[in-house]
């Protein structure tokens, strides 16, 4: 018997607006009206500015470790733009732009990185799950959320975001396998930004594309230029349609680049060449979107100036609001452990509260006592 080829695979790549300004009229037709693109560009610019401010806040000790989103704004934004308002966004921590588009307040994200759980108390109307810190675990929650929708006979789907590094985690594979085999309406968006902190993509995946990982699970796969908002919208739109009408998952590899460090605690100069970063700076999603809008006569430098002034005011106001939120009472750490506090835990809480009040009293009386502060 001759050996036969029983399976041939191919991965399509979609690019609509490339880094040189080339625009595919056919693929892009009707995808994003100019007026919407202006709003999307403003959203990306706002997110970018927040990154700069957040970096400074961390450096000046006003905020803890923060992961900049710089360079990856188009991916989650493209998804958020095209998803329904009640579709789940199940994200990691570099999807600020999409979350803000959903209406998640900027101060929520700031608050989270300022060490306050209330930043994660994302109200249900935004249908966004809290920032997921352990890598690659949230895709399973997306599968579960999508499953719940299907169970109830609803049309709500789940769109989840993760990085190239996360596709090395077992949970990614379990989530893809569950979604494909149980017919769950999930859109898997892998932000391939080439770096998992210091470890390059080739250590995570030695196949030519990350996209093809989805093939093994029997789901449609596609690679898009992740710095191209049109391509991101195009792919998520098709995937969301498939999820909604066929209850089938899709794997989208969004090729993008982390322009900043992994977090403010990282220094990417230790492991990657500036030349590589410089190349990707030219592929910046903001840059090409702005140029496109200018060509469409929808944007100019005076509009840019007006926008930046507005963004500065908005971002700074969000920072002020976040910083004005005082630390929660220590009792909060106890009160949300369970719906109803077990007796022993209530006792621990009460003893801690008594201790806190006693410490405050000591501080107050020391400060008020004569001679205090005389040293």
């Amino acid at each position: 018997m001759p050996i036969k080829s029983i399976l041939k695979l191919e991965i399509e790549r979609v690019s609509i607006l490339d880094e040189h300004g080339n625009y595919d009229e056919k693929l892009g037709a009707g995808l994003i009206p100019d007026a919407d693109l202006v709003k999307l560009y403003e959203a990306m610019s706002s997110c970018r500015y927040l990154d700069e401010v957040a970096f400074k806040l961390q450096r000046s000790g006003r905020m803890g470790t923060y992961p900049q989103n710089m360079g990856q704004e188009a991916t989650s934004l493209g998804a958020a733009y095209v998803l329904n308002k009640d579709d789940w966004m199940v994200t990691c921590y570099r999807e600020n732009c999409g979350l803000f588009w959903r209406g998640v307040p900027m101060e929520s994200i700031l608050l989270h990185w300022m060490g306050d759980e209330r930043g994660n108390a994302m109200p249900r109307p935004h249908f966004a799950t809290p920032i997921a810190v352990p890598i690659g675990t949230q895709m399973l929650h997306a599968a579960g959320l999508a499953w719940a929708s299907k169970y109830r006979g609803e049309k709500q789907i789940a769109c989840t975001f993760f990085g190239d590094g996360a596709t090395s985690e077992g949970d990614f594979h379990e989530a893809a396998n569950f979604a494909a085999n149980l017919d769950l309406p999930v859109v898997f968006c892998c932000q391939n930004n080439f770096w998992a902190i210091s470890v390059p993509g080739k250590i995570q995946c030695s196949a030519p594309t990350v996209a093809q990982r989805g093939i093994a699970y029997g789901m449609p796969c596609i690679q898009v230029d992740g710095n191209d908002i049109f391509a991101c919208v195009y792919a998520v739109k098709a995937a969301a349609h498939r999820a909604r009408t066929e209850s089938r998952p899709t794997f989208i590899e969004m090729v993008t680049y982390r322009l900043g460090d992994h977090t403010t605690a990282d220094d990417a100069r230790r492991y990657r060449d500036q030349a590589e970063v410089d190349v990707w700076k030219l592929r910046d999603p903001l840059l090409r979107t702005r140029k496109f809008l200018e060509r469409q006569k929808c944007w100019d430098s005076s509009k840019e100036e007006v926008m930046m002034k507005r963004i500065e005011i908005e971002v700074n106001a969000a920072v002020t609001r976040a910083e004005e939120i005082a630390a929660p009472p220590i009792t909060d750490a106890f009160n949300y452990t369970f719906a109803e506090l077990p007796a022993d835990l209530a006792q621990q809480r009460d003893s801690m509260q008594t201790h806190s009040l006693a410490s405050e009293a000591t501080v107050t009386s020391t400060a008020a006592s004569p001679g205090a502060g005389g040293h």
Binding site: V90, E117, R118, N120, A121, M122, P123, R124, T129, P130, P134, T137, M139, L140, H141, A142, A143, G144, L145, A146, W147, A148, S149, Y151, A158, G170, D171, E174, A175, N177, F178, N181, L182, D332, A333, Y336, T337, F338, A339, E340, P342, A343, D344, L345
Partner: protein, 322 residues
């Protein structure tokens, strides 16, 4: 009223909760057509269909991770992890997400799920099929850990667990599955999580135990001429400290019995709580009768590993000789 074993009592609780609440669904490996490897979900697939009794891919983290998503969306999933030793792959999802979701979102999201897990040794199972990991999960804030020792308690506790707004690990002692039958009401009833049961009353010594070990404690106590009180904790976390305190203040002596390894086991917690609450009432130091700090041996030696009536009796006599 029916005379049921533990398997049947759990099966009945599952049926009744599923009939009552459309949000309840079961998922796991072999829970569907096969009815579970211990037949705990027998008949449920036929009765409720593949939508509500779901055979999943063979992936423990996936089972718990998707259950978390289902629960976050407002459903009441009951995932089954087939054996105690296979909880490991799901540890991250249990402890990094299920346990802390309410806290880290300040109540915006909650995870009301009940993880059913057959637990412990004594049924001649292969390795990794006989572990007792209750202390690991009791140490993780945000999870409740339940382990019934009787059919009656199992039904009432499981219903409470399913209705609980927080994640519960419901350990089912394999050795008790078909060990005996008792009267279990058809009618709905609940047993509150966090409440111990006084199995028999006594005045001279308290034995605190849970799960299958309760049966060994009863054997020992039945043969003893002493007046011994036996407390079945039923819930490992949150522990019914009041019941322990009341009893030990009365008896002045306590033996804690569990199958899990000794070091860092929940017996240590019981002993420490007694020190804090009952020190001046004690006639003798608290004793532990437990599994050992070894890997659970293969089944030829499993009966040597697990506390039996004679070891429990030995500890009881030691306390009276102190």
């Amino acid at each position: 009223m029916a005379n049921l074993n533990l398997v049947q009592a759990i099966n009945l609780a599952l049926i009744q909760e599923m009939e009552k609440d459309e949000r309840v669904l079961i998922l796991g490996e072999d829970v569907g057509v096969n009815g579970g490897v211990f037949r705990v979900t027998e008949g449920l697939h036929a009765r409720f269909g593949a939508r509500r009794v779901v055979d999943t891919p063979l992936a423990e983290s996936g089972i718990i991770g998707t259950s978390i998503g289902l629960a976050m969306a407002g459903l009441r999933p009951i995932p089954e992890i087939q054996f105690d030793g296979f909880l490991g792959p799901a540890y991250d999802q249990i402890c990094s997400h299920a346990a802390r979701m309410r806290t880290r979102t300040r109540g915006a999201f909650t995870v009301p799920l009940t993880i059913r897990v057959p637990v412990g040794g004594g049924i001649h199972a292969p390795e990794l099929h006989s572990d007792s990991p209750e202390a690991i999960y009791s140490h993780q804030p945000g999870i409740k850990v339940v382990m019934p020792s009787s059919p009656y308690d199992a039904k009432g506790l499981l219903i409470s667990a399913i209705r609980d707004p927080d994640p519960v690990i419901f350990f089912e002692p394999k050795r008790v599955y078909r060990a005996f039958r008792e009267e279990v009401p058809e009618d709905e009833y609940t047993i509150p999580i966090g409440k111990a049961r006084v199995v028999c009353e006594g005045t001279e010594l308290t034995v605190v135990s849970w799960g299958a070990s309760v049966l060994q404690c009863m054997q020992s106590i039945e043969k003893s001429s002493r007046s011994i009180e036996l407390i079945d904790l039923r819930t490992i976390f949150p522990m019914d400290l009041e019941a322990i305190e009341t009893s030990v203040k009365k008896t002045g002596r306590c033996v804690v019995v569990h199958e899990a390894p000794r070091t860092g086991g929940m017996g240590a917690e019981v002993a420490a709580q007694i020190m804090e609450r009952c020190f001046l009432y004690l006639e003798a130091p608290v004793q532990r009768v437990t599994g050992f700090d070894t890997i659970m041996p293969y089944y030829k030696l499993e009966l040597n590993y697990m506390p039996d009536a004679s070891r429990i009796t030995g500890a009881i006599e030691d306390l009276f000789a102190f």
